[in-house]
Amino acid sequence: MEYFAHSQKEFVYKYVVMLSDVDQFKHMSFANHLKLMFLATDALFVSCLKGDFLEKNRFKLLDSRMQFKKQTTAGDQILIKINSSEIATARFSLIYTFIMEGSGDLVNLGRQTYEIISRNGGFKRVVSEVIGPVLNPIQVDENHLLYKY
């Protein structure tokens, strides 16, 4: 049996739900939850944007999905925990666990799959060479996780 969870690392992004995020039903819309997923992704990627990285490479989203477990409203403090998964030669996945800070209530489960291509789109980059130092420390085996993303 593996007790990996005790030493598991993750990238954490915090967001406080603003009044402008909620609609007339007083909840943050599903689209804004997804915007938050992209914000967290950008925060993770920013750590590897050194030099002319963006002039040479492009993160290309292939697929993304989200399950909504709990509604949120203005003032809620959400922690978005990101782990990497299924790091292959030319693509990788990120999995997202949204929880309410304090109570720990599960808010959303998200998943995105990317490939990195050269800026001109001509060829796929080797993921481990381009972003390995960012993804490897937060990598998990999804077969051992509590949730299905």
């Binding site: 039903f25 819309s29 599903f30 689209a31 997804l34 915007k35 992209f38 963006l54 492009r58 989203l61 292939l62 697929d63 993304s64 999905r65 989200m66 399950q67 909504f68 509604q71 800026r119």
Partner: protein, 140 residues
């Protein structure tokens, strides 16, 4: 044969583009919410009244697959159809067609569930909406 609801009013502006000049994937999620609301407004005459009842329409899951890029100035048409219909939930599928490229660039699939806002229990799909969605069901 199932009907398809078409939403033709999507134009790509600079606001929708990313660092590289392509439509940021997030926009397809936002357009998904616009398309489904436009669909209900167009097809359910008292949709606003239905939403004022003690019932909440909640998205429980969504998936987005991207097939190709779109750019500033492109026109995108969204084609909505209804997937599986259950007692308290149903699926909606939206295919985004780039008119300039004449090809599908994205597809989103999402599931909507209805919940009684007083007791938090699942609620039946409102009858007015059910009468409409069966006509747009791919499983017809």
């Amino acid at each position: 044969m199932a009907k398809i609801f078409t939403f033709e009013n999507i134009k790509v502006f600079f606001k929708h583009t990313d660092y590289y000049g392509f439509v940021h994937p997030y926009n397809y999620y936002e357009w998904t919410s616009y398309v489904r609301e436009a669909f209900f407004q167009k097809t359910v005459p008292n949709f606003k009244d239905v939403m004022c009842r003690l019932i909440k329409m909640m998205t429980v899951k969504i998936r987005c697959e991207l097939f190709d890029d779109s750019e500033f100035g492109d026109t995108i048409e969204a084609c909505l159809s209804v997937g599986k219909i259950k007692k308290v939930s149903f699926d909606m599928n939206i295919r985004f067609i780039n008119i300039n490229k004449n090809k599908a660039v994205c597809q989103t699939n999402h599931t909507i569930v209805f919940v009684n806002s007083e007791n938090g229990k699942f609620a039946d799909i409102p009858e007015e909406m059910k009468q409409v969605i069966v006509r747009y069901s791919e499983n017809d």
